[in-house]
């Protein structure tokens, strides 16, 4: 089981980084969401793995519980990265619409008051 | 007896899921892909219920239900995208 999770984290990380290294905004965003999956699983797994032991207290019998803390952290992380993804999607879209070009690279000479700037 | 039935069902739905994956990756048109994704979602729900049945736990129910609800939403979104390009208009 651990091997599966670990390898999954690895593969998600690799794919994510590979996409982040592309030169257009959209693949980069995809890469970021992949690597977000990776890190969420990673963070979750730091609580070690457990089956059928949700951290929901059982009043009647004494059952094992998994580590709830990483879950809470991952929840927070998921929410935050959702917000972040939404923002970068929006910025990327605005950038594309403003320049009709979805390359993510710039030139060192680019500047907000360069001629032709519409801001 | 039920165990074996469950394992049989596991196998069937597991195979089904893999076939869906295969279809998603190899399909010729995005429509078929979306169809395959939708089917995969439904198969997954089946697997979750089966597993809950196998383990005698309830914790899969909510997830299964939410997945059933949201899987539909995303399928519709994809379809609208393919038909109209614009999913909210």
């Amino acid at each position: 089981m651990e091997a599966l999770v670990a390898s999954a984290v690895g593969i998600l990380t690799a794919a994510g980084i590979f996409l982040i290294l592309r030169r257009r905004t959209f693949p980069v965003i995809l890469g970021l969401s992949l690597i977000t999956y990776a890190v969420n699983v990673f963070l979750f797994a730091t609580g070690r793995l457990a089956l059928n032991a949700p951290a929901v207290l059982n009043k009647y019998e004494d059952v094992p519980y998994t580590d709830p803390l990483p879950q809470a952290l991952v929840l927070t992380a998921i929410v935050i990265s959702f917000g972040m993804t939404a923002v970068i999607v929006m910025i990327a879209l605005s950038a594309y619409l403003s320049s009709k070009d979805d390359h993510i690279d710039m030139s060192p000479q680019d500047s907000v008051d360069a001629p032709g700037e519409d801001a | 007896m039920i165990e074996y039935a469950i394992y049989f069902a596991f196998t069937c739905f597991g195979a089904a899921i893999l076939m869906c994956l295969w279809r998603i990756i190899t399909a010729d048109g995005v429509g078929t892909r979306v169809l395959a994704l939708d089917t995969m979602v439904i198969n997954t729900i089946a697997l979750m219920i089966l597993y809950g049945l196998d383990q005698g736990t309830e914790i899969f129910f909510e997830a299964a239900m939410i997945i059933a609800m949201l899987g539909f939403v995303s399928t519709v979104a994809y379809a609208r995208f393919m038909l109209r390009g614009n999913i909210i208009e």
């Binding site: 939404a86 | 196998t11 609800m69």
Partner: protein, 956 residues
């Protein structure tokens, strides 16, 4: 007057000219003059004390922690220089008032001048070398402003930048030197340092300190090879040249060498570095000066030469030489300032400084001629003028100096230098004033108003008086100053008389004078020869160097920060992985303490799907829609995996976030290209893949290692499990952690979400405000659109589903505290329920029926959450302290209430508002006027042709 005040006055005074310039040029000038005059008076008050050889001090602990204290001291040396600075300063102010033209902003000029004056005073009065450094660099800065005063002259700008670069750079070197020095002695106070000669000269750091400090001095005093900046600083207005580049700033280096003389001199290193530099500078300056046709250039190089002379004297390290140095400082200040002003007058009156175009001015400008000639002859070293006395002493001293056992080298070269200096002095007189009168002067020359010539005249009077009876006039001063220089030890024998009998020095003087005349006679031929010599133009070299360096750094900067994100990311990843690996290998890994769980059938299926989908994304990422579908698969698997691994809350959150994210991406993909073109070479992709794989292996291995080991210490979550129910009133520990134990995280998290929505809204506004709006209205869809955009069946289905979905949301919310679920997931579900209406019945139709406003919802969410937290303050508890209890209303079974639920309500609202606002904003991009539809369904038979019986009913 307190030394503080003397040092402060110029700075305070610097304010007035800038302000008073509105009141007229005289006001500005007199303000500057008055300030200087006051300072001067304040200085002169101390004459008695100084002459008694006392040291006036003023101390203030500024930064004791650093040893940088505002300590000032006034001894003979300081007094002399302060006198020069303020005295000549006063004359310069007067002179400049008449020199500057109408166009020149005079207020600025005097402000800069006073700033500079203050800095100089600071240098000569500092009793703390760090403080001295401050003033030292200030002189560089203020002189930068003065030299660049004529902004429109390129020479001015370049000269200023060059001066700043050289002197400022030297100053930086000196910082290091001073820090070392202070480190050796253990104090930065000069008075302390000056007591520790042995300690300093014994230290291994003596040489580096010496060299670094001398770098500062030499650059400031334009010693070879740093002499080149001075002539170009002459682009400054003449008053500036006269003040900075003859009387004061260039002497700062000399001052410091004199100041440090007691502790630094007397070693071979000192002798060979300082004396040699001085000698070379003296000679070089003199030779070059002879062949300069620009009056000010001639004077500039002569200044270089004389500075070299003084440096050399200080370098000799003998007390007599020190006395000679001091004496010559005084003399040079007098005649050189006078000469500069003369040159200024000539320039001002004739409109040129080019010697080749001058000559025969003696009748046209008799006063100027007299002043200039006397000063020049003093510079040439002719009796009975003061220049003669100090030069005699210099020559005298060279005779007793051997350089690497060469007895004749120093005197010989000194003689040559003296000869050349005599020559250019004569040339100054001969080629400007003597000779036939000409009729092609650019302007019509005549003697200037008294305001211009009174200052130099005064100096020339000094020149003569000192020459005739130096012992009476400057004798005491020289004595005091010299004793200060040599560290208060007993003065050597010396006399300031004109006649010492037939000494070698006398012969050398005669030779120099005659040789000078002779050389001037041959000037034409020498000049022809000189012009054939290859002469490296320091300025050109310097400019070229700076430009080259600027180009280089531009190249480096732009190559390094070339705007290619993937490059940045690769460096990031490589660096991270590398350091992580380093950290791992330099530690020791413990033994595995956990047995892995068996991998069952279903997880393997899931794993295959995950891996398949992920690789699929990598492979097909150029097909954007497909990669979205595959991401959907990944999300599905991950959320199911969470559920499988006992994290139902995560599963629910993950899947709902998944769907909303996907919808966001689809909304944006509607405007983006649906294909990513190939724009990276195969090689590049392989490199990227390699790096990615390495990073993947890294993260995978790391988590694998963690999972197979127990916590090194009991984890704090045991506490959460133990206290979730009795302390937090909930059985779903995860939710209790979120809303209670770590509620502050969640508080921040909903704020993040809210901000995200705000940004999306704000950007939408910004972008739709520009010409983008027009583009959006005219853009074509990616592909032909189908008809029937709101199919009847979809509409009906969503109508049935919506209430149920809301019910589910409510259910998820209310059970959250005790079962998987909670405000966040509920918020997403409700949002999606409304979203379904958007998609089915259309944006405009649905929005009309919207009952809540997104900004408000977000705001209320955050405020409710905050209010729940603040509520605790009222019963003396910290922020976010929760409370809960049980209500028992028969016949109902008892049920629980918890403030945490209220907090979770805040979360719910914030999430709902944020998601809706985000989606709403994005949908507005696609909105176009024609789209407003009054009906939810495009096709509705009931509406279009109602069946007959319905109409009958209506009639009935």
């Amino acid at each position: 007057m307190s030394l503080f005040l003397i040092a402060a006055l110029p700075f305070l005074g610097a304010v007035f000219p800038a302000l008073l310039i509105r009141a007229g040029r005289n006001a500005a000038a007199s303000a500057a003059g008055l300030t200087t005059f006051l300072a001067l008076m304040g200085l002169l008050i101390h004459i008695p004390a100084v002459m008694r050889g006392e040291v006036v001090t003023a101390r203030f602990d500024w930064i004791p922690g650093l040893g940088l204290n505002a300590n000032f001291m006034l001894d003979g040396l300081g007094f002399l220089f302060a006198l020069l600075i303020l005295g000549i300063g006063l004359l310069i102010i007067l002179y400049a008032r008449f020199y500057l033209s109408r166009e020149d902003p005079m207020g600025q000029f005097y402000t800069y001048l006073l700033l500079f004056q203050g800095a100089m005073i600071g240098i000569v009065l500092s009793d703390n070398i760090l403080l001295l450094l401050i003033f030292w660099e200030l002189t560089s800065l203020s002189s930068f402003l003065l030299i660049g005063y004529w902004k429109h002259l390129p020479e001015g700008r370049q000269g200023a930048r060059m001066a700043l670069a050289v002197t400022g750079g030297g100053g930086l070197a000196m910082i290091a030197g001073m820090l070392i020095l202070g480190n050796i002695v253990g104090s930065y106070d000069l008075s302390v340092i000056l007591q520790n000669k042995e300690l300093i000269q014994a230290s291994p750091y003596y040489l580096p300190a010496l060299i670094l400090i001398l770098l500062g001095c030499f650059t400031k005093s334009a010693q070879f090879p740093f002499h080149f900046w001075l002539p170009h600083a002459m682009a400054a207005p003449t008053p500036v040249s006269a003040y900075l580049h003859s009387a004061t700033m260039v002497k700062a280096g000399l001052f410091l060498m004199a100041r440090m003389w007691p502790v630094l001199s007397g070693t071979d290193a000192w002798f060979y570095i300082v004396a040699t530099t001085g000698l070379v500078t003296m000679l070089l300056g003199a030779v070059i000066a002879l062949f300069k046709d620009d009056l000010k250039a001639l004077l500039a190089f002569s200044t270089v030469s004389h500075l070299g002379l003084i440096t050399m004297l200080l370098g000799f390290g003998t007390k007599f030489a020190a006395v000679a140095a001091v004496f010559h400082i005084i003399n040079h200040a007098t005649f050189k300032a006078a000469l500069f002003m003369t040159a200024g007058i000539v320039d001002h009156e004739t409109g040129t400084r080019d010697i080749k175009r001058l000559g025969g001015l003696r009748h046209l400008m008799p006063i100027t001629f007299t002043i200039g000639t006397i000063a020049a002859l003093s510079m040439a070293g002719l009796p009975p003028l003061n220049g003669f006395l100090s030069k005699e002493m210099m020559l005298e001293e060279t005779v007793h100096t051997t350089w690497l056992h060469l007895h004749y080298l120093v005197p010989g070269l000194a003689l040559v230098a003296a000869l050349f200096s005599a020559a250019y002095s004569f040339r100054f007189v001969g080629h400007v004033f003597l000779g036939p009168e000409r009729n092609d002067y650019p302007a019509h020359p005549h003697d200037p108003p008294i305001g211009l010539w009174v200052a130099p005249a005064f100096l020339v009077v000094l020149v003569i008086l000192i020459g005739l009876n130096s012992a009476a006039i400057v004798g005491p001063l020289v004595a005091v100053v010299s004793s200060a220089v040599i560290g208060g030890e007993k003065l050597p024998y010396y006399s300031l008389k004109l006649w010492h009998g037939f000494t070698p020095a006398l012969f050398m003087s005669v030779v120099a004078t005659l040789g000078g005349l002779f050389l001037l006679g041959l000037h034409k031929h020498c000049e022809r020869f000189w012009n054939t010599l290859p002469r490296p133009e320091a300025k050109v070299i310097f400019e070229a160097l700076i430009n080259r360096f600027t180009q280089l750094s531009r190249w480096i900067t732009d190559e390094l920060h070339n705007g290619v994100l993937s490059r940045y990311a690769i460096i990031f990843v490589a660096f991270t992985v590398g350091l992580g690996y380093y950290a791992y290998t330099t530690g020791t890994i413990g033994v595995e303490t956990r047995i892995p769980l068996p991998a069952q059938f279903i997880p393997i299926i899931g794993w295959i799907c995950l891996v398949g989908a992920t690789l699929g994304i990598m492979w097909f990422h150029r097909n954007r829609l497909l990669s979205l579908v595959l991401i959907g698969v990944v999300g599905l698997i991950v959320s199911v995996a969470f559920n499988y691994l006992s994290a139902p809350d995560l599963a629910l959150t993950q899947i709902s976030v998944e769907v909303v994210t996907m919808i966001l991406l689809l909304l944006s993909l509607n405007f983006l290209p649906t294909e990513t073109p190939w724009d990276s070479s195969a090689a590049r992709r392989w490199r990227d893949a390699a790096i990615s794989v390495v990073a993947g292996i890294g993260s995978g291995a790391l988590i694998y290692a963690i999972m197979l080991r127990d916590f090194a210490f009991p984890t704090i979550s045991d506490f959460h499990l133990a206290n979730s129910y009795k302390g937090g009133g909930g059985t779903n520990v995860v939710n209790v952690i979120l809303v209670d134990f770590r509620g502050f995280d969640t508080f921040g998290e909903i704020i993040v979400l809210g901000i995200a929505a705000l940004i999306i809204f704000a950007l939408t506004e910004a972008v739709l405000g520009t010409n983008v709006r027009g583009y959006l209205l005219n853009r074509k869809p990616h592909w032909p659109q189908s008809g029937d955009s709101h199919p009847l069946m979809m509409v009906v289905a969503t109508r049935v589903m919506m209430p149920i979905a809301l019910m589910v949301g409510a259910y998820i919310f209310f059970r959250g505290h005790n079962q998987p679920g909670g405000g966040f997931i509920a918020g997403l579900i409700v949002a999606i329920a409304f979203l379904m209406q958007y998609m089915a019945s259309g944006y405009t139709w649905a929005i009309e029926r919207q009952r809540f406003y997104y900004h408000g919802t977000i705001g209320w969410g955050v405020l409710i959450a905050a209010a729940t937290g603040l509520g605790a303050w009222f019963n003396e508890r910290p922020f976010l302290t929760s409370d809960f209890g049980y209500i028992n209303w028969p016949p109902l079974e008892e049920f629980e209430w918890a403030t945490a639920m209220l907090f979770d309500t805040g979360v719910f609202l914030a999430v709902l508002g944020a998601v809706m606002l985000a989606l709403d904003s994005l949908s507005r991009f696609a909105w176009r006027p024609g789209m407003a539809q009054e009906f939810p369904m495009d096709i509705n038979p009931l509406r279009d042709d109602p069946p007959e019986q319905d109409e009958e009913k209506e009639q009935a």
